[in-house]
């Protein structure tokens, strides 16, 4: 027997050096990670990053070009999707338009040759659980977006699988319904205690629901971690840019000052907290970030040391505003502050401000 001994006892999925190529195009460059039992894992990235291909490989809709996929202790390469129990909730929902709600939910039971009476009973149980029992005999076209979502979930869960795959299932919903369905999904996952693998391009969805997040770009895994880890300590420039709220500075390590590193950049020398930083020696390139909320602003001429930048524009985000600025060398920076804090400075496009920050709010990107 080929028992994979490295596999952690609490892992239900293991991707081992998985590569997927479509002809010349590499969709997934190398995926190596495990998914725990009962874990809510989000795979996040922009379109074409390989997240959906990874999910489809778990479902058995694609076969890896290289590497192995282990599912519940079994190597499943080459095993057809209809022989696995890895139901998926599709972005388009893919409900069968020629079947009623209940027939849709019964579908996978019918494919497994389960008797009519048991099918009905189990389907109705799940319809009840998803609070759509009253629509059992309706046509799919008669349901609202949220109701269809529930049908898709019931249809996928009716076989009571150990793992559920979700491919951007909420992307078609409006903002309000999206938040409600996020809560439904979160609670459902906790109640059932099964593994959810959730693919999305939306950071807010991933961070709101997932225990751990995998960030992918161009087929590569950029970072895996809890939402907190990723938000506060992005591993590299890509993740920092993807999160979108950080200002990124590059320079060279000049020396140390206590616990801080001193870094020479185009804008001068800055002290940076080196708490998470990897080992580097003087002269090495270093990239660090300062998040927009941690940026401080002072009027020009206030004498505070920092970076001079010109205001380009302003965007309102609820109780705060993001001010977009540009340095003399054309670098783009942003600052997020409450309206009260911004009241004291001149924000007209073209006016110049001084930007500065505390050294402990900096984070050195370890992956750069």
């Amino acid at each position: 027997m080929n028992i994979h001994t490295d596999m952690k006892s609490d892992a239900i999925v293991k991707l081992d050096g998985v590569v997927k190529k479509f002809g010349e195009f590499t969709a997934v460059e190398r995926a190596d990670f495990e998914i725990g039992r009962g874990e809510f894992l989000a795979i996040m990235g922009s379109s074409g990053c390989g997240k959906t291909t990874t999910l489809r490989m778990l479902a058995g809709l694609e076969d890896p070009t290289e590497g192995d996929i282990w599912l519940d202790g079994e190597r499943v390469n080459g095993k057809a999707t209809w022989d696995r129990d890895t139901p998926m909730v599709w972005q388009s929902l893919a409900l069968f338009p020629f079947l009623t709600v209940q027939e849709n939910v019964e579908f996978s039971l019918r494919m497994r040759g389960i008797s009519k009476s048991e099918r009905t009973e189990r389907a109705r149980k799940w319809l009840d659980k998803m609070q759509i029992l009253e629509f059992a005999d309706r046509n799919i076209s008669q349901l609202s977006g949220g109701q269809r979502q529930r049908v898709a979930l019931a249809r996928a869960l009716v076989t009571e699988p150990k793992i559920l795959l979700l491919d951007e299932p909420l992307s078609a919903l409006d903002a309000h319904l999206k938040v409600r369905m996020q809560a439904v999904l979160s609670n459902l996952q906790k109640d059932l205690g099964i593994t959810f693998v959730y693919v999305t391009h939306s950071m807010s969805e991933a961070f709101a629901m997932a225990d751990r997040v995998v960030i992918m770009s161009r087929g590569r895994i950029e970072q895996i971690g809890t939402p907190q880890e990723i938000y506060h300590a992005p591993r590299n420039r890509f993740v920092a840019e993807f999160l979108g709220s950080a200002n990124i500075f590059s320079g060279r390590l000049a020396g140390t000052s206590g616990d801080d590193w001193l870094i020479d950049t185009d804008h001068g020398r800055f002290a940076v907290s080196a708490l998470h930083a990897p080992a580097k020696s003087p002269g090495d390139a270093v990239t660090f970030i300062v998040s927009a909320e941690n940026m401080r602003i002072s009027p020009e001429g206030s004498g505070v040391p920092g970076i001079r930048a010109r205001v380009v524009g302003e965007e309102f985000v609820g109780a705060t505003a993001i001010v977009f600025l540009e340095t003399e060398s054309g670098e783009e920076l942003k600052v997020q502050k409450s309206h009260g804090e911004l009241a004291s400075v001149d924000l007209h496009p073209g006016s110049t401000l001084i930007l500065h920050w505390e050294s402990e709010t900096c984070h050195v990107l370890p992956g750069e």
């Binding site: 057809a80 209809w82 069968f96 338009p97 579908f107 497994r112 076209s141």
Partner: protein
């Protein structure tokens, strides 16, 4: 301003559409009117109303044989062409493979080859394999000409299908055969029925190939050709009108099926 001129242009354009439609339908309506007219060679003013020509074809045993052959051929051809066309449409929908363009060209080109040439080629070939002159030879020839129509209709319906639907069925535990039966066929059912009707109608009207390959086993259109070559007989109008009514019934049925299915989709 140009409003007045635009109005005149619009009216002229609409009149042109009407003229085109009249031009296209004059012969069709004409043959209807002539079939109910007592004159052997109708002109203006029209002769008296008469059902004489219908009585004559009713009593003509050859017309009945022709009609019987047409229906048999039409029915068998419809089933064969729809089966072949379904396979071709699904192949085009689902697979990419080396030489797919050649596959599609072979599948779809027959209607663009002049029927005279198709007829000649098939006659030469089928007589070589001792199939000419039989009903089977007509069915084979019509199968070639009709399957592209069936394929096009079913392919169109498949392109309205959410491409995830099939994968979703596999993912829910149905293998390819079960998915074909429980998802693809139910989804394309309206198009399958429409293809059956339309290929039957095409077969009804495909005279030239039948004329070439059939010899004695005449179908109705071949019978018509026989009339045309012989002496002038308004019976052709009566036969043509009956054939037209049956074809158009099939087309309307097909149209209704396709309309309803595209509504159901949205």
């Amino acid at each position: 301003m140009t409003g007045n001129r635009n109005f005149i242009i619009d009216v002229l354009l609409k009149l042109h559409i009407a003229a085109c439609v009249i031009f296209i339908f004059a012969p069709i309506l004409g043959s209807f009117v002539f079939s109910l007219n007592s004159d052997r060679f109708p002109s203006l003013p029209l002769g008296q109303f008469s059902t004489e020509w219908y009585r004559l074809i009713w009593e003509d045993p050859f017309v009945w044989t022709g009609f019987y052959n047409t229906v048999i051929v039409g029915f068998v051809v419809a089933v064969i062409a729809t089966l072949l066309g379904f396979g071709g449409a699904y192949t085009d929908f689902r697979y990419n493979f080396f030489g797919k363009n050649i596959y599609l060209a072979l599948a779809l080109l027959p209607p663009t080859i002049p029927v005279v040439i198709m007829g000649l080629a098939m006659l030469a070939f089928l007589s070589r394999v001792n199939l000419s002159g039989s009903t089977i030879s007509v069915i084979i020839a019509h199968g070639v000409m009709c399957s592209p129509f069936a394929m096009a209709i079913i392919r169109l319906r498949l392109s309205q299908m959410d491409p995830d639907l099939e994968a979703a069925a596999w993912n829910l535990g149905g293998n390819e055969w079960a998915t074909l039966r429980h998802v693809i066929i139910p989804f394309t059912k309206p198009a399958i029925l429409a293809a059956l009707f339309i290929t039957m109608a095409v077969s009804f009207d495909e005279f030239a190939v039948a004329w070439f390959v059939s010899g004695l086993n005449e179908t109705l259109p071949v019978k018509i050709l026989g009339f045309l070559q012989g002496q002038v007989s308004p019976r052709i109008n009566a036969i043509g009108s009956l054939a037209f009514v049956s074809s158009i019934t099939l087309i309307i049925l097909a149209q209704i099926l396709l309309r309803n299915s595209s509504k159901e989709k949205s």
